[in-house]
């Protein structure tokens, strides 16, 4: 049983405060959906949780199983079991996807004091996961995200989640840019990986449609760098009916 605890997190970029006190606890096996309009700070929260150097945490803490990761570099956070599925995955020209996956997996294993994965075993696992996410096999010989369609990039992120087996996965708008069929594959894939590995999930989205495939245990509405409402799936239906307007923080100028 693992726990990710965010306590009163404040963060800024270029001296502008963008997170204004976020508190949230995610346990293993739980799925938390964070919804909110554009500019509410959802993606920023993802990047800050993963340790993007662009942002400064001004106060508050992030703890993983009682260890503060607030000051840690992204690789250390990953090694402790945190994973971010990017909204816009980066292209790494010339680096084969298989090699990238294996090297990263071995870095994670080494940090956990475990031996490197044997190549045949690794390829076997990889092929299973690829099948689950309905990827063509030739994808493994392509360079990391280079020339991938938007949908392929997102699917590949979930493939990484399957391979790296994190304790907590942050899915940053995994649904954006996907057509209905692709959304179904990706969302169902993520849900089954989460269930299988008892991974805690923080799922960021604009829309409820992805939640038809990954049912959240908790739903949070974010606005202006704060969580303004928390609840259950009922909240999603409320947003669907009325939009975000009733939930928003009214900023006094």
């Amino acid at each position: 049983m693992s726990q990710l605890v965010i306590k009163n997190l404040h963060a800024s970029v270029d001296n502008k405060e963008i997170l204004k006190g976020i508190s949230l606890t995610v346990n293993s096996g739980e799925i938390h959906a964070i919804m909110g309009p554009n500019g509410s700070g959802k993606s920023t929260l993802c990047h800050i949780l993963m340790g993007h150097p662009k942002y400064t945490i001004t106060s508050g803490t992030i703890e993983l199983d009682g260890v503060s990761i607030t000051e840690m570099a992204p690789d250390q956070r990953a090694q402790l079991g945190l994973f971010l599925s990017f909204q816009y995955p980066q292209e790494i020209p010339g680096v084969k996807y298989t090699n990238f996956l294996r090297q990263a997996k071995n870095a994670l294993l080494a940090a956990a004091g475990q031996p490197a994965v044997k190549i045949p075993d690794f390829l076997k696992t990889l092929k299973e996961k690829i099948k689950m996410l309905k990827f063509p096999e030739d994808f493994l010989n392509r360079a990391v995200n280079e020339g991938f369609s938007g949908g392929e990039k997102k699917r590949a992120e979930i493939l990484q989640m399957a391979i790296f087996e994190p304790k907590f996965a942050i899915l940053d708008e995994t649904d954006s840019g996907l057509d209905v069929d692709a959304l179904k594959i990706v969302a169902k894939g993520a849900a089954s990986i989460a269930k299988e590995t008892q991974c805690g999930v923080l799922l960021i989205t604009h829309y409820q449609r992805i939640l038809n495939y990954i049912e959240p245990s908790f739903v949070h509405i974010m606005s202006e760098g704060r969580i303004v409402r928390s609840g259950s799936m009922d909240l999603v239906h409320e947003v669907e009916a009325k939009g975000y307007e009733p939930f928003l923080v009214t900023t006094t100028v």
Binding site: A78, Q79, L84, F86, I92, V95, A107, F164
Partner: protein
């Protein structure tokens, strides 16, 4: 490994290689600086025929007359031509002590896992002998096919007609000041002759040729591929070659006859005190293919632009250039292609990585002569900068005097982005591992052109160069 045995073999090889017996042994080391007398002494010491002495003397005059190039690197001004030994007897070279070899070179040997005996050879301390057997069996196999693969000094003595026919026909002494210098004082290098229709399957490796002079200052290499033959010649190795001589100025000439194919692969990793100023040129006749695969990692300054003259209809030329410029290094590399006949095609693909304040320059020339109709060429140069102190610059020259041609040129400069690093680090890779991965990916299209064992070593070497480059 028995040290006594090693010494025996070493001395045996020395005698064998230079053909000396006790009564003929005498010490020879030219004084610093260069005079006509030095040139005469070198030639006499080698017991050369008159024509070679005449050639050297003529070249010496040209060297004296010609000014230093005014273009290129500001580092050029740092060469002190009067403070260089222009010829050192090979046995003297080997008298250098292992203790004198700088610690950083030794540590690089460690990291690359170079065997003990090879380390000494590479550091100029002793002769490498383990590859000797490999070389001999290879040599026998080649001789059967009529292939000649000897050092150029031996070729002058044993194959004077061939040498006289081709020597300095591709790079005449008048070409540039350093070519003139090499012509006056050259020593060692390889002479390769591939008879008509013969295909040499394995790469010929200069590294196997046990010759201290092979890694010398002023080598002279001549490769002749007769009609329909093919050969792949490789020089250098990924381990750093330690030289106390600060100037390396080689000349390489290659003649690729009709329908023949030559690939020349270089991995240059001179120690960081060396000025590496090399003239490399090939001529490709009808339907012939020439490929230069040139990788520059070491030296203080390298100025090297392998060139190909496409002289016959349908000839093809390809230049792949990979450079890595680290702290205090300037890699000024590139390539030149001259389309002199119709239906010729060429590719130049150059990639450079600059880090810790290093500078890499791409210098290229593409020329299409009038009448070279339907020539096709594609030039691509990509530079990757790892930090803000490092620099890259590009000097592409094109002179197209024919209308019916297809020419493409593309140049990019990329900086490793914070977003790429963040992405890879979020997967558990350290910043160093992430940077290495990005650099490897960037260079991958060129690395895969190298023979497998070279490619693996190169990747290790690149990782070594990258060590401590972040944070």
């Amino acid at each position: 490994m028995a040290t006594q045995q090693q010494q025996d073999i070493t001395s045996e090889l020395t005698d064998y290689r230079y053909g000396f017996h006790d009564e003929e042994k005498y010490e020879f080391k030219s004084g610093k600086g260069l005079t006509e007398e030095t040139v005469r002494m070198i030639s006499a010491y080698k017991k050369e025929p008159q024509w070679m002495l005449d050639f050297r003397l003529k070249a010496y005059k040209i060297y004296r007359e010609k000014p230093m190039p005014t273009w290129g690197s500001p580092f050029l001004q740092d060469i002190d031509f009067e403070n260089i030994h222009y010829y050192i007897k090979p046995t003297d070279r080997k008298s250098r002590n292992w203790e004198d070899v700088p610690a950083e070179i030794k540590s690089t040997f460690d990291k690359l896992g170079i065997p003990e005996a090879e380390r000494k050879f590479l550091a100029g301390v002793g002769a490498q002998y383990e590859s000797e057997t490999v070389y001999h069996s290879l040599q026998a196999h080649l001789e059967e096919k009529g292939v000649i693969f000897v050092d150029t000094d031996t070729a002058v003595q044993k194959y004077p007609e061939l040498v006289q026919k081709y020597f300095a026909t591709i790079v005449p002494p008048r070409d540039n000041k350093l070519a003139a210098l090499n012509s006056a004082v050259w020593s060692g290098g390889s002479f390769v002759y591939i008879p008509k229709g013969v295909h040499v399957e394995l790469p010929l490796q200069a590294y196997f040729r046990i010759n201290a002079e092979n890694a010398g200052q002023f080598e002279r290499t001549l490769i002749i591929a007769e009609e329909g033959s093919s050969v792949h010649y490789t020089e250098g190795c990924t381990a750093p070659i330690y030289a106390t001589d600060s100037l390396h100025s080689a000349v390489v000439e290659i003649i690729v006859h009709k329908d023949a194919r030559v690939q020349y692969t270089t991995v240059q990793n001179w120690s960081r005190n060396v000025f590496n100023l090399v003239t490399k040129r090939a001529v490709a006749h009808e339907n012939a293919t020439m490929m230069w695969l040139d990788c520059n990692i070491g030296s203080k300054l390298t100025m090297k632009y392998p060139s190909i003259y496409l002289m016959g209809k349908g000839a093809r030329g390809e230049i792949m250039s990979l450079a890595m410029a680290n702290k205090d290094q300037h890699q000024d590399a590139g390539g030149k292609i001259f389309h002199m006949a119709p239906d010729t095609s060429s590719v130049i693909n150059a990639k450079s990585v600059s880090l810790r304040g290093g500078r890499s320059s791409y210098r290229g020339m593409l020329q299409v002569a009038p009448g070279a109709e339907r020539s096709r060429s594609r030039v691509t140069c990509d530079a990757l900068l790892l930090d803000t102190q490092s620099a890259t610059d590009t000097y592409p020259t094109m002179q197209i005097d024919e209308n019916n041609v297809a020419i493409a040129h593309e140049a990019t400069v990329t900086k490793i982005s914070e977003e790429q690093l963040f992405y890879l680090m979020s997967r558990g890779l350290s910043e160093q591992e992430a940077s290495n991965m990005i650099v490897n990916g960037f260079l991958a299209p060129l690395i895969k052109e190298f023979p497998m064992e070279y490619a693996l070593e190169l990747n290790r070497l690149i990782a070594l160069e990258m060590e401590g480059s972040v944070g």
